[in-house]
Amino acid sequence: MSADPGTVDLLLPAARDVRVDGAPSRRVRAGRAGGPARTGLFLAGVLVLAVSVAAGTRIGAADVGWTDLGRVLGARLGLGTEPLPPLLDSLVWDLRLPRVLMAALVGASLAVCGTVLQAVTRNALADPYLLGVSSGASAGAVIAAVLPLALAGPGAGALGVTGGALVGALLSFGLLLALLRRTGLDSVRIALTGVVVGQLFTALTSLVLMASADADTTRALTHWLLGSMAPARWDAVAVCALVTPLGLAAAWLCANSLDGLAFGADTAASLGIGVRRTRMLLLVVTAVLTSVAVATVGAIGFVGLIVPHGVRLLVGPLHRVLLPHAALAGAVFLVWTDALARVAFAPREIPVGVITALLGVPLFLVVLRRKGEL
């Protein structure tokens, strides 16, 4: 229970300038993989993601070979390869590729948002939609689709849904912040307020659907409401590719603070963490990431719930390591589930949200059992 006499007592403030070189004499780290092994795991994850994106682009109602894929990329990127016939070329370049890239971006985004919100609200059941953002997006999309807001030209309908969803998501988040204003942003209050805001917008969505949508609109919207990658085009990918890395980087910069939040606001603050500021920043980051994702592809469930839990089992709960791995795992997971959604009942396409839920429930049960909570 006491330090060796004669050596510097590392626990005294006077020892702050004492540098310890190399590994500590007593090996504290045990069990989980250390630094180099983790880097290896991360690089392996990047490789798996790259292969998944390439493979995912091949899979679908029309099969695309590796050479075909190479020819499309070569021709489009100006490498001088002979292009494919226009129809196949367009299928790969205009539909398949943006869709797969979107799945990777959205998957990463949802997994990281779920991880962050689970830490901020200290609630293992938190997912990216806890803040009510997806309900806001749904309401916005439904209102935009039903009201003849976007009458100009073909394609304006889809744009109207996306735009309406984005506006709805941001409005609902604004309402959430207004309700949380002047509170300490404590964990339970965030979760409860998010649920209430979500319920309000869900009711609004149902109201508009029941009151004014015709059968065709309802059917089209149902697809979107369940979460589908089908509407992903290059413009949406561009927005996502711009916003997602920024959001992920912001979350990663808060990693040490996220760890500190594990024992509540007082302990976190006593560790030098600006608790309210950190929580606010992370709420804004997750709301923006979720809004951008939901606006295009709808509320795809379960990715943001199970991926964080699964990855935590693999690399541990420290967020510096957890966040990047969760991003990779989320991306890979959604790329493959979307591929499955395309081919499982081909030629009919299932909304990927249905697949993630079908796969997510058993996976979640496995994770809970592994953690000894079931």
Binding site: L12, P24, S270, L271
Partner: protein
């Protein structure tokens, strides 16, 4: 580090919890903070730790007012241990203790060799080295409490503020913990319910009642039969232990048990609660 407070007051929802407390804790002093439940000990500790912004008064570390200090600057001076909330986390024991290194790390960096050595030393100091790789879930209440202490020690603080750290500990671990705190040579203010334990290990005791500091001095001067009866409402005798410190021998609660219905109704209607001032609504330091 010298910790001082002048005229410190703090309101919770308009109700004064800490009222005009002034104190002066000398460097290296081990001070026990006593008082019945609801006397304001925890709130006073939080004000002193910079976790609550006092509605009136000043907290100073070594004479410098800390009101405008960042949470990080405070965390590099002082460590705070709250009562264990019984929370489950997936963190391992070494990770929890490693949280104590947060104030010394920038955003982009994980633990370095020094951090790991300090964490190892802190675990060793509280006797938890063997459990370093264990999950937090599997720990007993006492082990968790000791891990929290180790986390505080890993902050290499100049002062330690602890809110009933002996709560979940058995007798042996209580004694070891108090010996450890008294032996750090740092300024320690520790809220305690165990009066005899406080008298045995603290240089000085502070006694709180209804938010006010009503006594301060060496154990024998604070632990008097009058205080035990008037403040703690217990009937007790005081003995003197082998070291000349007072030891409390309880006979029982002072007032006989009254039926709940007799105490539940206040004699006059309670006044309407005052509106909540904004300054009391801040949580932590932001």
């Amino acid at each position: 580090m010298r910790i001082t407070a002048e005229g410190l007051s703090w309101l919770a929802s308009g109700t004064p919890v800490v009222r005009g407390v002034g104190l002066d804790i000398a460097p290296g002093e081990t001070v026990g903070l006593l008082g019945p439940n609801g006397s304001g000990k925890s709130s006073l500790l939080r004000c002193l730790a910079g976790l609550r912004v006092p509605d009136a008064g000043t907290v100073r570390y070594d004479g410098l007012p800390v009101r405008d200090w960042s949470a990080r600057r405070i965390a590099r001076r002082i460590a705070f241990v709250e009562q264990d909330s019984g929370l489950d986390t997936d963190l391992r024991v070494a990770d929890v203790v490693g949280l104590g290194r947060t104030p010394f790390r920038d955003r982009l960096h994980g633990p370095d060799a020094t951090d790991r050595a300090v964490v190892a030393a802190a675990l060793d100091r509280v006797g938890l080295t063997a459990l370093a790789g264990r999950s937090w879930r599997g720990l007993s209440g006492g082990e968790r409490q000791r891990a929290h202490i180790a986390r505080a020690l890993a902050q290499q603080p100049y002062g330690l503020l602890l809110d009933e750290p002996t709560n979940h500990l058995d007798v042996r671990h209580r004694l070891e913990l108090m010996e450890l705190l008294a032996g750090t040579g740092q300024t320690v203010l520790v809220a305690l319910h165990d009066l005899t334990l406080a008298a045995r290990y603290c240089d000085r005791l502070l006694l709180m009642h209804h938010g006010r500091l009503i006594a301060s001095g060496p154990p024998a001067a604070v632990l008097t039969t009058e205080h035990l009866a008037g403040i703690f409402e217990v009937d007790a005798e005081l003995a003197t232990d082998a070291l000349g410190r007072p030891a409390v021998c309880y006979r029982g609660p002072l007032r006989p048990a009254v039926p709940a219905s007799a105490t539940a109704t206040p004699p006059e209607p309670a006044p309407a609660p005052a509106p909540r001032p904004v300054s009391t609504l801040r949580e932590g330091t932001s």
